[in-house]
């Protein structure tokens, strides 16, 4: 893990860094806020991806920090803007739609106004709870006309699912528009990551999204290690990578089963559902918890792979891979499955690029975005997992992406587990650098997880910004159901399987 900041002198006041490295705040000295528009246009035109946009306060000064990623150079860039005395800015969303939810979030939390934002509505706030309300009422977008009706679903849904509110505008069975209002799951994770004691911060990071405990724990640890220049032993990096890919296999296999369930194909639901458990049980053998909780600590991992466990993993893979292949073959040769999957819930490549979708959602519509390839850190600096790509952007494509990723993760696990580097799996964490920032990116099973952390002059965390992949991707679900039958909504929803808690934090 590189520890020295990468700086480029000819671009003053935009700091460059690699994934998980520290950068002195001096290198991101604040620009005037009116530069934001120009910087946003420049980033958009260079095809950069918006990773995070958020304000922070360091002592008396408030600044806005923009973090973008450029896949070609594997570099992240950070630009700060002076916020002191400012009340808002001309919204950059109309120019660079990727920013839409970030600007809404800033408006909600800080009261700053991105002027001209097309839909400046609270992201997580619930007006009925605020006395007096902080913002004027902002109704749902409404379609009108003969035969048009509205369907409201949630926050409590009809299954074992997280809460959220879905408001459909329908013409007969056809969905004209879906607006998704979340926020019901808001638990205050970022505040705890900034203010709680270190032991608590670790378990909060693991609980941002419970099915991504390893992914968020890895991003959290990478951020702390980057800020402090702690070198994680190679063996620990490999164990972390194994756990991350096991987590991906568990969730992708589970999703394939859930997709089968939603179209009434019960053999697929039963077999994939059972095999997901086999892989969860491997995580439990490793860490003592089916979701890999307590495995990662800043500085390494708490549990090592024993010889017996290595053999156990290989045995499970030997037995499981053939069964997975058979079940997938059954699924994709069943006409009733294909007729529901193919052409359903299409997201275009243009939308994915314009709105900054990440993970399998983006890769299923031809956008080759994958942190493991674009901004590799940890074990992925030494081993490349090929990026899975499909072009169609429909439910079938998202199922195919999951399947390809299962196969590639299994191959990765097989390779890594039989050639683990020797050595320790844990070192002590050094103290964090003062007045610095870091951005730690991890390709979780849903896509890009970002933890951006800023320290003050004492090395204390003043801001810990978490961007879960779901934050980027919820709009993809809304777009995918436009023009679809409302009865296809559950299937479309499952094909993205986004996190409510990760979005709401």
């Amino acid at each position: 893990m590189a520890t020295r900041p990468v700086l480029e002198e000819r671009r003053p006041r935009t700091g460059w860094l690699a994934n998980g490295t520290a950068l002195s705040l001096e290198a991101v000295a604040a620009r005037p806020l009116q530069d934001l528009t120009a910087i946003a246009i420049d980033a958009r035109d260079r095809g950069k991806h918006l990773i995070a946009l958020f304000p922070f306060r360091d002592g008396a000064r408030a600044r806005l920090l923009l973090v973008t990623g450029e896949a070609m150079s594997a570099r992240l860039s950070a630009t700060a803007f002076e916020l002191e005395g400012e009340r808002g800015w001309p919204s950059i969303t109309p120019l660079w739609p990727e920013a839409h939810l970030f600007e809404r979030e800033i408006h909600e939390g800080w009261g700053l106004v991105p002027e001209g934002h097309p839909w400046l509505k609270a992201v997580r706030g619930h007006r009925e709870l605020e006395v007096p309300p902080r913002s004027p009422p902002h109704p749902f977008l409404r379609a009108e006309g003969e035969g048009v009706h509205e369907v409201a679903v949630g926050p409590i849904h009809a299954g074992i699912i997280e809460p959220g509110h879905f408001r459909f505008q329908c013409f007969g069975e056809e969905i004209l528009h879906l607006e998704i209002q979340l926020g019901y799951q808001q638990r205050g994770a970022e505040e705890l990551l900034e203010n709680a004691n270190p032991a608590r911060r670790m378990v909060v990071a693991e609980s941002i999204a419970g099915d991504t405990a390893v992914g968020h724990a890895l991003a959290y640890c990478t951020a702390l290690e980057g800020l402090s220049g702690t070198r994680v032993p190679l063996r620990a990096q490999a164990v972390r990578g194994l756990a991350l890919e096991l987590e991906r296999v568990c969730n992708h296999v589970g999703d394939l089963g859930a997709l089968c369930n939603d179209v009434g194909y019960l053999p697929g639901a039963a077999y994939f559902g059972r095999m997901r458990g086999d892989f969860l049980n491997l995580l439990m053998e490793l860490s003592g918890n089916r979701y890999g909780r307590s495995l990662l600590v800043p500085g390494g991992v708490r549990f090592d792979f024993t010889q017996a466990l290595q053999a156990r993993v290989l045995r499970t893979l030997d037995a499981g891979e053939g069964q997975l292949r058979d079940t997938f073959r059954l699924m994709v040769t069943t006409p009733s499955v294909l007729s529901r999957f193919e052409g359903t819930g299409v997201v275009s490549k243009e939308s994915a690029l314009e709105l900054g979708f990440v993970g399998p959602t983006a890769r299923a519509c031809g956008v080759a975005r994958d942190v493991r390839t674009d901004h590799p850190s940890g074990v992925f600096q030494f081993t490349h997992v090929p990026v899975a790509i499909a072009e169609e952007g429909d439910v079938m494509a998202r199922a195919n992406i999951r399947w390809l990723e299962v196969l590639r993760s299994l191959r990765f696990i097989r390779e890594q587990v039989s050639r683990l580097p020797d050595g320790p799996v844990r070192v002590a964490l050094h103290p964090p650098a003062p007045s610095s920032m870091t951005a730690a990116l991890v390709e979780g099973w849903r896509g890009e997880i970002a933890h951006v952390v800023v320290t003050d002059g004492n090395g204390s965390v003043v801001r810990h910004k978490v961007v879960d992949p779901s934050f980027h991707n919820w709009l993809a679900l809304a777009l995918s159901v436009r023009g679809a039958q409302i009865s296809d909504f559950p299937l479309c929803n499952k094909s993205f399987n986004l996190s409510y808690a990760g979005h709401d934090l």
Partner: protein, 252 residues
């Protein structure tokens, strides 16, 4: 068609016998064993390592409602006064019973005779996620798979609280979900039961004191069964539900 039969044959029968003897891996952290007599005066290593302040000292107490089963305390203790067994039964009928002191844990007993006659062979539950990370929800979902097969016990998750005999609540009950939870509770016909699942629903868990939640199921929703864990293993959940229905003896 041949392929379908071949695959079905290879999958075999996977359903676990339950109740039965099931040994979870050594690293699995289940019911903790406390030996307060080993504590040295002035030592606070376990309490300091605990992320959720689940441990009280002199005398040593461990509150399973707050415990995330991370094992940091066992790792920190120089004397071995706290260790985690791989025993998965972790359900209780009261908050007080969840505070371990080294004596035998008082695991959940059954509902009274009337409730058992109503729900003993048929229990319909409505799950309400109120700020859960989806970990507990995922394990509740797993109860429906062929391995745990909740349906064989007559227990079923239903889509509406109006069709339910009780609620299963996960998450710390965020401010934004408190109203919806109360509505769901009121919509459930009486008599009804409430099962609180996971450290968040029991105490706020990792999010205790964040200021955005009720730090667990609030007083307006009385709880009948507390299931500890982060998240509880599906066997823990199954064990708890069957204890509540009197289908596992309290002494076991």
């Amino acid at each position: 068609m041949l392929q379908l039969f071949k695959t079905r044959f290879e999958q075999g029968k996977r359903t676990l016998e339950f109740p039965g003897e099931h040994t979870l891996p050594d690293r699995f952290r289940g019911l903790p064993a406390l030996r307060p007599e080993l504590c040295r005066d002035g030592c606070a290593a376990c309490a300091e390592s605990c992320p959720t302040e689940a441990i009280q000292l002199s005398p040593l107490r461990l509150d399973l409602a707050r415990c995330l089963f991370c094992g940091a305390c066992a790792e920190a203790c120089p004397e071995g006064a706290i260790s985690f067994s791989n025993r998965y039964p972790l359900s209780f009928r009261s908050r007080e019973a969840m505070v371990l002191d080294g004596s035998e844990a008082q695991l959940a007993g059954a509902l009274d005779q009337r409730m058992r006659s109503l729900f003993g062979r048929s229990l319909r539950l409505r799950q309400v996620a109120a700020g859960d990370c989806s970990g507990c929800a995922a394990e509740l979902t797993a109860l429906g798979n062929v391995v745990f097969d909740l349906g064989r016990f007559g227990i079923q998750f239903v889509a509406s609280p109006r069709h339910a005999d009780g609620l299963v609540i996960t998450g710390p009950v965020t401010d934004n979900m408190r109203f919806a939870l109360r509505q769901a509770y009121e919509a459930t016909p009486s008599p009804k039961i409430v099962i609180a699942v996971g450290a968040c629903a029991l105490s706020g868990g990792p999010f205790r004191g964040s200021g955005h939640s009720a730090d667990g199921v609030p007083p307006e929703v009385p709880v009948d069964l507390y299931v500890a864990g982060c998240p509880p293993h599906p066997l823990t959940l199954l064990d708890g539900m069957l204890r509540l229905l009197g289908r596992i003896e309290a002494g076991r």
